[in-house]
Amino acid sequence: MGCCNSGCGDKNIHHDINTEPRAFVIDRMWDEAENIKTFVFKGTLHSKPGQFCMLWLPEFDEKPFSIARDYDGEIWLTICKVGPATTQLFKMKPGDRVGLRGSFGNGFSTVANKKVVLVGGGYGTAPLHFTGKCHQDSGSDVTMIIGARSKNLLIWEKKSEETGFRTLIATNDGSAGVEGFTTHILEKLLHEEKIDLVQTCGPEKMMKAIAEMCMKKNIPCEVSVERYMKCGFGICGQCVVETGEKMCQTGPVVSAERAMTFSDFGVFHRGAEGQRKDW
């Protein structure tokens, strides 16, 4: 089944009216890289690429994660261990139950018969892969640029190749692909080829550089702006950027133009009590 059959819905419906978490069983899981694992659940969240869900570890905590796949009866989440909740999750085993709610938020556009470049950093590559799959199913040509500090932190590059995306790698230390940043690869590409759309998900400073680059060249670009999220559906106000827009509904995916109106974009985000934290 093509990914978009199960996924792409109405852009304006950001959440079901019932946001009780539903139980899902961890079907399997595997390491992607050091401290990065992919978890698979049977079922669907009826999501489109770029949307996220809230993953609940009962009696522990609940956190937002981008959906890395939602088709063929499976939901994939690719998760980086960074703190208490993700550490707890990494201790779980197939057969264990968690709660999921969503999908929430605005996803990436899917385009047909175009030339698309995706730029992923960190776990951002995973939801971009889902996006690329949708483009591909619609006849678009997909280039995936994947960045990491070094080879052992690279993820999804094999899947990218297997899926038939042109796959380009950048590592800071040159341990895989070209030495340097994804932005260098992108810059070259944009210079040499006619690209219709750039979509990126990764560290915010990287996304900001890409947004600026694309705007200068007048190439449509979408970025995924992640903010602290409590509810995921537009009530708590935790995820607003400096324009007052909620990233759980207007975002996480917004156009580069819109992102550049957020004075906090690439500059700071906020913690659980709303306190400012520089990126």
């Binding site: 946001t19 809230m54 607003v240 007052g244």
Partner: protein, 308 residues
């Protein structure tokens, strides 16, 4: 076109709909945006003097019929509160209702003084938080004495800003509490806070959905309780303006609760059901109704149900 403006404790509101406390209230940017979307005023989330961690997630969820939350009144404390208030004043000229909270009766004085200095248009006092020192940890809002003592302290320390005390419906008589806080110096009443608490579980995970196990119920489910509370309070205290809050989910609901006795109308959970469109949708509906009515001013309908 007849306009929707109302005066509340001497403060002019372009329309009576005000954002209820705790919803979209984390930053000044968020609050100012709600004004841009069409609210007549906004209420900050409950501000503490000291940083106050909330409960872990899940802290809220909704169904077709109701919404539940147990955020735990998380707040970064006065430093951030002061900054938010200042930034908010720069961003908007609409009236600001500053909601304050504390865990002991005597702590209300300090927060009232600090917030009072920032000259919000109204200070709203959240007394629905459990009194950490009372014998059974009952909220101040459940005791006439506690409620009155908090009110007095805030009144004495806040300067000449009007104060509205926010009441809980989960009491034997909300009218008794309203009477005692007004006697103690409250200029207005906000009614109601959430109903319950209630409890919901996930039967497959066998875990309460909210990390706090129980949470307050809001949204359309509680509208009949809110209307009754506002009606009863206005009947007993016809000269005390009310920020009528609880389950308002349409322009017609807003009109109904104003006729029951509300001067302003608090809107919180409706945003779950209507999103950013909430404000315009509701004020359009109110304007349309007002146009075809015999009333020239929206304020003429305040307490209308009592005038027959």
């Amino acid at each position: 076109m007849k306009n929707l403006n109302v005066a509340f404790c001497g403060v002019d509101f372009e329309n009576p709909l005000v954002l209820a406390s705790g919803v979209l209230g984390v930053t000044a940017a968020s609050l100012a945006h709600v004004i841009e979307l069409g609210a007549g005023g906004i209420t900050t989330k409950s501000m503490w003097r000291d940083p106050h961690p909330g409960h872990p997630n899940p802290t809220m969820f909704g169904t077709k019929e109701y919404f539940m939350n147990a955020v735990g009144l998380s707040d970064a404390g006065l430093v951030k509160g002061v900054q938010t208030m200042k930034e908010l004043r720069e961003r908007t000229s609409a009236p600001i209702i500053a909601n304050i909270v504390a865990g002991k009766v005597e702590d209300f004085g300090a927060i009232a003084e600090s917030i009072g200095e920032l000259k919000p248009d109204v200070v709203e006092v959240n007394i629905s938080c459990p009194n950490v020192e009372s014998e059974f940890g009952k909220p101040f809002a459940c005791s006439r004495v506690d409620a009155a003592n908090v009110t007095k302290l805030v009144r004495d320390n806040v300067g000449n800003i009007p104060i509205s005390v926010k009441l809980s419906p989960n009491v034997e008589s909300i009218v008794d509490i309203a009477q005692s806080v007004v006697d103690a110096g409250a200029n207005a009443i906000t009614a109601i806070n959430t109903v319950g608490p209630g409890m919901r579980w996930n039967i497959d995970l066998r875990t309460p959905i909210l990390s706090n196990k129980v949470g307050g119920v809001s949204g359309p489910a509680i509208f009949p309780i809110a209307v009754k509370s506002v009606y009863d309070i206005h009947k007993a205290l016809p000269n005390t303006p009310i920020i009528a809050t609880g389950g308002v989910n349409s322009g017609r609901d807003a009109l109904e609760i104003m006729m029951a006795g509300g001067t302003l109308v608090g809107v919180g959970t409706a945003i779950y059901y209507h999103g950013d469109a909430t404000w315009k949708k509701f004020t359009d509906e109110m304007s349309a109704w007002l146009e075809q009515s015999e009333f020239d001013n929206l304020s003429d309908i305040i307490g209308l149900f009592h005038k027959k």
